[in-house]
Each structure stands twice: as structure tokens, then as C-alpha cells.
């Protein structure tokens, strides 16, 4: 009898704890991060914040003033891409140090080493988790695309 009572209490506590956990995660503040010159025709936002998490769209080496891919080779594109990523992150009030995860898409896996060298300039210590691979093609003929997830401290 007392064993059954204990079981009932434990079950009740389990469901109570489930409820508190789900309540904690019920809904979070949503913020859309854009720039004055973000084209309305693009069906994605530069970044979306949910609670204290920032989801940053894949960035390519677009010139922020013209919206066109910059002139130059892989190294220039990597620098521009990372600088665009930094701009979106800072626009949202985050820092590069807040990035917890990146995806790096290359069109040529032979660019892996030069990409890493420039990437390290932007993430010099405690770098984020990352996945990198070569794809078939990137939008607008870009050579590199990088997306990110950041979490504010």
C-alpha cells in the first residue's frame, strides 16, 4: 500500500516537473534583423532572433553598397563573407564571440586551407563548432557561403 503511495507521488512529481520544463520554453520574443537596404524581394531575413538565440542567414561575398558579388578571388570573397556575417551579428547586438556554430560551404574543397587561415582571423580563440564541405554550386556564383547561430551570454 505504502509502495503504491510512493509510486503515485513519484509519478505526480514527474508530470509536474515536465510541466514546469515545457512552461519555461513556451514562447520567446522574436526579432527580425534587417538593414535599410535589405531587398524586399528576398524571401529570407539576414537574421532572426528567438529569445537569446540568433540565427544568421548564409552570407556570401556581396558588396553591401551594391548588393553584387565583389570582384576578386577566393581570399577576397572569404574576407567579405566573414565581414558581412560580422555586420549582421553586430546589427543584432551580438558579437562574433557569441557564435556557437557555423556552416561553411565551399564550391571547391581545395579552398579549405585558405578559408581556415582567414576564418581564424575572425575567430582567433575559442572558435565555434563548425561543419564545412564542398557543394555543387552556390547562389550568384559565389565561391563561399557561411551561416551561423549565436547565443547571447
Amino acid at each position: 500500500m505504502s509502495r503504491l503511495f510512493v509510486l503515485l507521488i513519484v509519478t505526480a512529481m514527474f508530470f509536474w516537473s515536465c510541466n514546469t520544463v515545457s512552461e519555461k520554453h513556451e514562447a520567446s520574443e522574436r526579432r527580425i534583423i534587417t538593414f535599410e537596404n535589405t531587398p524586399a524581394s528576398r524571401p529570407y531575413s539576414p537574421a532572426v532572433e528567438a529569445g537569446n538565440m540568433l540565427f544568421v542567414s548564409g552570407q556570401i561575398a556581396l558588396d553591401p553598397s551594391t548588393g553584387k558579388l565583389i570582384e576578386g578571388g577566393f581570399e577576397e570573397q572569404t574576407r567579405q563573407t566573414l565581414s558581412n556575417l560580422k555586420a549582421v551579428i553586430e546589427r543584432a547586438g551580438y558579437k562574433l564571440e557569441d557564435v556557437v556554430r557555423c556552416t561553411v560551404l565551399l564550391t571547391d574543397i581545395n579552398n579549405y586551407t585558405p578559408m581556415n587561415r582567414i576564418y581564424m582571423e575572425f575567430f582567433p580563440s575559442d572558435p565555434p563548432a563548425r561543419m564545412a564541405f564542398a557543394v555543387r554550386d552556390l547562389p550568384m556564383g559565389a565561391l563561399i557561403e557561411i551561416d551561423a547561430i549565436a547565443v547571447k551570454k
Binding site: 519555461k24 520554453h25 520567446s28 560551404l105 557543394v135 554550386d137
Partner: protein, 127 residues
């Protein structure tokens, strides 16, 4: 604690993965291709039809988990041909008309089942 989502109105998974998994208030939706939920086969049609079906499948999973398209914060769009980028965008924007999720899009070498497009999503319920 994680919650496994199984949606009646979405095509059965084509492998050892769940339709979606929710953990810590974040819903991770598996990559969806244009499978017909009724037959489990890739639908007939080009990139326009396949984009629509893939997004409908995402919608069915979101709904089963108690979420909606408006809760999507990030998506990944995988294409077989980068030439389909523009048409994909046209269809995609109908499903996400405002406050669009962050996104990454690119063309891969090949997709499962010969699909032209695969889309995955991350959602967080918004206030």
C-alpha cells in the same frame, strides 16, 4: 528532455530519422523532399511543384508539433540545380510572406530519391 514528433499528414520518413525532434523549446524538422504523403513516392512535377510539396510536408510536421510556418526561425534549402534558385524563391515566399526566417541555400551533388529540392527547418514558438 526531447520530444519525438510523428506527423500523420506528412510522408513517412525515408530512413532512420524522426519527422522532428523538440528539445529546449526548439523544434528541429528533418529535411523534407517532395514525397506525396498518400503514396510515399516523389510527386510528378518540376521544381515549382516539388518546392510546394516539400514545404507542405514541413507544414504538416510543424502542425503536428503544435507549431506554424510563422514559428520557423531558420531553414536550409538544398537544390539539385542552382538554376532553380529563382523559381524556388517564388514558391518559398508564398509560404513565408513576412518576417521570413533566416536561410541558407545551395546546390548539392545529389539528393535522396532523385529529388530536386530538400528543405529542413528550425522553429521556436514566438510570442
Amino acid at each position: 528532455m526531447k520530444r519525438i514528433i510523428s506527423a500523420k499528414n506528412a510522408p513517412a520518413a525515408a530512413g532512420p530519422y524522426s519527422h522532428a525532434v523538440e528539445a529546449g523549446g526548439i523544434l528541429f524538422v528533418s529535411g523534407q523532399v517532395a514525397l506525396d504523403p498518400a503514396t510515399g513516392k516523389l510527386i510528378n512535377g518540376g521544381i515549382r511543384e516539388q518546392t510546394e510539396q516539400a514545404l507542405r510536408n514541413i507544414g504538416a510536421i510543424l502542425k503536428a508539433a503544435g507549431y506554424s510556418y510563422a514559428d520557423v526561425v531558420k531553414s536550409t534549402v538544398l537544390l539539385s540545380n542552382i538554376e532553380d534558385f529563382k523559381t524556388m524563391n517564388e514558391v518559398y515566399s508564398k509560404f513565408f510572406p513576412s518576417d521570413q526566417p533566416a536561410r541558407v541555400a545551395y546546390a548539392v551533388k545529389e539528393l535522396p530519391l532523385g529529388a530536386l529540392i530538400e528543405i529542413e527547418a528550425i522553429a521556436v514558438k514566438s510570442k
